[in-house]
Symmetry: D2
């Protein structure tokens, strides 16, 4: 059973093929690559789906914490599928919850979370989550437990 | 016009999505990523298609030179398509020729080449290209100019 | 005030220069690089100081979880200094605690933790922490709070 | 005999420690890392020594080609030393020549070259090498054969 592009329990998904140099000496995808996969998925959703504007006067999304729990090893040429949903949504920050699966057989490889705070480009102080982004999160990424 | 999975003039192709952290300060995919794309494509072909065995008594494919000519910038979330064909085939080495395209519109982004020498795992000296690999190269990757 | 090679409160330290392509579009070292810095520091200590053997019949150290809290942004060409100490030491696992500093001025950039479990190379089941590694941890990396 | 920070025959040098995840499945620093080392060394020299300004109205240095010849394998935790000198200097472009050495024993690991063209930030067309950069190149990086 292959993993659906949007894994069950998530509101968005993205396919993430591994690369030859993702494997480390042990022949497994190195633990740092899981963060590249999660970071790419969140940023992809923010830019391509939620229409986050970057540069100029727009608020920036800054990572304040991240974490990952590893369950199974994977190896190039495995392709991963990353599921994304929203956990806690504050006024200025969002906690993202992610699931990392192997595409070929649906194996749950790892789970993780990121916290982004939105800040003003000049003030570097927390600002409200941009309205369009909040609406997109609430519409697409809030998944009943 | 999107790029076909096997670009015209090549014998094999592989889709290579970019990642958020492939972009550098200038907002473009950093020049080192093109090598990860080419290395991944060659290794993928060797392992998945030509059945190259790794470890134990098997010959190793070692990179002795590589190069890239950059024509256009690309940026995450662009997806690339990498075309692969064989150039010069010696008794112990192969010159791979690669074309890097943007999937969405067929833009030629870069061209490159790698030279692999096959060596014995113990002797570390050049050995003949494994028979099955040579046959696969001649069958799949030799493309009329 | 520059950061000492072994930051205060840690038992081991390693200098980690940033690279041009560590910076992302925002001009800051991407959040995944902090994990490469922590992973490199732990592995460096295990191999160079504690004499961890790899390959063959030796136990493997496998990452089961990791996390990072980001306090300040840094940018290439900043050099980082990574401090390492042991937190909880179980019979088959270790929690590593790390501090990431900017070398030039002692700025605390981030804190993180990794949990490694030692497993048998064949059984893939948890095994006791190798004796020499446990002694080295207790000798070098246990720091009074 | 360790490698001097500025290797013989070069005008500038930079120490480049390897990272755990630079090693690939074969236990050697992956061939793409040599490009990260060369790119970092050139950019470091341009920004820190030659005072290249980035952003705004300033000319951009864009890579148009790169290449590497690999002579010896290295492995984490080896530290590399990268030597930089100028080859051909045109009106709008520079060819950089680089040597990659192992610090511990002076082993020549690889040689490479990059070609940068300077372009206008708006026009994206070639412009003259900025005067201060050209002077710094001629002063520091032209080495008699």
């Amino acid at each position: 059973m292959t993993t659906p592009v949007v894994p069950t329990g998530y509101g968005y998904g993205r396919v993430f093929p591994t690369r030859w140099n993702d494997n480390d000496v042990y022949g497994h995808v190195n633990n740092t690559i899981h963060y590249a996969a999660m970071d790419t998925t969140i940023t992809s959703w923010l830019i391509e789906v939620a229409g986050l504007q970057t540069g100029g006067e727009h608020a920036l999304a800054v990572v304040v914490s991240s974490g990952c729990t590893y369950r199974e090893s994977v190896s190039f040429p495995d392709t991963l599928v990353i599921g994304l949903r929203a956990g806690r949504i504050g006024s200025t920050s969002v906690t993202w919850e992610l699931g990392i699966y192997r595409e070929s057989d649906g194996l749950l490889v790892a789970t993780g979370q990121f916290v982004h705070v939105f800040i003003g480009p000049e003030s570097r102080r927390p600002v409200l989550i941009p309205h369009a982004v909040r609406e997109a999160i609430e519409h697409d990424l809030v998944v009943a437990a």
